[in-house]
Symmetry: C2
Subunit: 237 residues, 2 copies
Amino acid sequence: MEIFFSKDIDGNVVRLGAEESAHCVRVLRHRAGDDIYVIDGEGTLMRCRLIGDSPKGAEAEIEERTPDWGGHPYELTLAVCPTKNNDRYAWFAEKAAEVGVDEIVPVIGDHSERKVFKTERLERILLSAAKQSLKGKVPEVREPLGVKEFIKSCKDSDALKLIAHCMEGERISVKEALERFDGSSYIILIGPEGDFSLEEVALAVDCGFLPVHLGESRLRTETAAVTAAEAVYFKYL
Amino acid sequence: MEIFFSKDIDGNVVRLGAEESAHCVRVLRHRAGDDIYVIDGEGTLMRCRLIGDSPKGAEAEIEERTPDWGGHPYELTLAVCPTKNNDRYAWFAEKAAEVGVDEIVPVIGDHSERKVFKTERLERILLSAAKQSLKGKVPEVREPLGVKEFIKSCKDSDALKLIAHCMEGERISVKEALERFDGSSYIILIGPEGDFSLEEVALAVDCGFLPVHLGESRLRTETAAVTAAEAVYFKYL
């Protein structure tokens, strides 16, 4: 099923951007009168009829809206330290989008090997994954920030806030932490290859984060992040 | 932690193959007298002392054995149809190895786009993942075979046999199927992008497979396979 994307909605008319229009008209050869499907990235699927087939700016009239298309009954933010290899982070983002995630936050930790991170590639991957998975909502990527900065920004949130680390100390399993929680908003923090620092964990605990482990297996950062997404997904299975 | 691999064990002496020896002696510059760690691929970690440092065939004396190193308390076979893009299957294999899997079987289905599959690259990836995850057992890859052939070969197995498909019809969630089962051996069958055929599902049911779904999300083949590995992993979390 081909899905287009646009946030350019004016009343009952949606306009596709340059890239989407070129794909729609030149590559897929749609013409005025054709039915096309467009997501708005916020959750809604619009069944539309093409009224203008310019390859630079196609226009369509919205005939039917399906809200919360392909949505999931929870809000999940995954704050994950960038991996040394960018492809691994991209893989994680795509898989998290398929399974279900609302926001991805690249966080730079004390032990992070990669301290610079470009979000543009991730945005393209997340849009593509949303279309491919038939979801109306495209997960957001936030601009990178420090782990400590991120932790403090969550202090007043009512979400279940979890920090996954591999050091000794009080931790429960992510599964147990999720099961005990009555709400449906989750923030899960996944550290770099070198793990979080003691200071980062202490700050997290002070700001209401619960230290958790992800089981016995020693997981790469991107695998841990997908495992966290799966853990929340399974709670609702 | 550097880990070497060898199945060439003679009494209390382990010999590294050409590639592992070159890495050990030339790259990492180990010399006779050094302690090195070697896995046998079957589950055992051996702490050894290097006695011969030839870069073509290093030898070491086993000083201590740790059986079932990094092992998991279940047996999991993932029979997964090859994806059109080989990299995606490689990602799945690596992630399944990190989380926990014993055997990967590439199965060619009625709707498979890819009917030819080379296992060599997968073997390298699985060995590398086992070392990186600190596991003594390297998951095995079987030679590709047809879905129907594979299904029939499982007929007499006592394992919990699950076939994940996306068609209408009686299916329970993979989570429920896993929870109901008392044993610890699992065989999970994951289909191609075009799903299994009705005949394949019918044959599977005849041979004791339970049709399951993997939740609401529409997952790519490799994502479905990792999700299945995670589902079993979470049962034991």
